[in-house]
């Protein structure tokens, strides 16, 4: 379950994969910036879109006191 190999294998970031998405959120449920996540821009963009879809379906919170 190493992160780097996981990302390169993914060609589509699924909004249903909330375990993956949670890794790129801070405690409040905010999406971490790319300077922190250090992922390819393509992945970051997909990530952002997936998180927003996930939030719409209440799979992830818009704001949280403490995620995780």
């Amino acid at each position: 379950m190493s992160r780097s190999t996981n990302i390169t294998e993914l060609e589509y970031v699924d909004y249903k994969n909330i375990e993956l998405l949670k890794r790129y959120l801070n405690e409040q449920g905010k999406i971490l910036p790319r300077r922190v996540t250090n992922v390819p821009s393509n992945f970051q963009r997909q990530l952002t879109r997936a998180v927003k879809r996930s939030r719409h379906l209440a799979l992830l919170p818009f704001v949280a006191d403490s995620l995780k």
């Binding site: 699924d14 249903k16 994969n17 939030r55 949280a64």
Partner: protein
Amino acid sequence: MSVEKNTYELTYIVNAVISDDQIKDLIRRVTSYVSENGGEIIDVEEWGSRRLAFPIQKKRNGYYVNMYFRATGTVIARMERALEIDDNILRYLTLKMDAKMIRHYEKRKAADPDTIGLIAEERSRGSSKDRDNKVIGKDLRKVPVSSEGAEKEEKPAKTHERPVVADEKPAETDEKVADAGEKPAATEEKPAEEEDKPSEMAEDANEVAMDSEESSDEPSVEVAETPDDPEEKEKKEA
């Protein structure tokens, strides 16, 4: 209508407060609406009732349904309007699947346990945690040496196991030292392993009870004997 068909993914949240029959009926209606308008249903996955990340229309739980189908674009607009009107649909999300998404879906489908998405992951994780705890509990009492192998697999247990193992080695030689050693170990485990703590406490309590019985027996016998003694003495005297 010889328009090209696209593959779509639709996820919607049904009000979980209504009865199971009503939920099933609603899902059937949505599915049949798509199929009656020339759509081909590929798959309908019901994730079941889940806790929402935030309340929607003052509801904390929702019944999630995830379906895949092929249909013409004109169906989507009408279907979404129908979903919007229905009060028991809290949210919905329709996505047109491109080649990448379809590949991703097929890959997920091929790996069987992942098909039910989120729910399957959570269940497997929860049950494995439970199993780990039980194994640790057994290791602590019966085979302290084998728990060293388990340390590598179970990260949360690491910090808690070491002091206990260290305490139990002298336990084999001297019982009284073990009693003193186990008590601080039990207090350390409080946050992580709730199962182990009461059982160890109970063991300690039993041992303490044994000790107290032994100690209390002696004076009670003495007390019982002392009143007898004068009577016996009186009998002997008589």
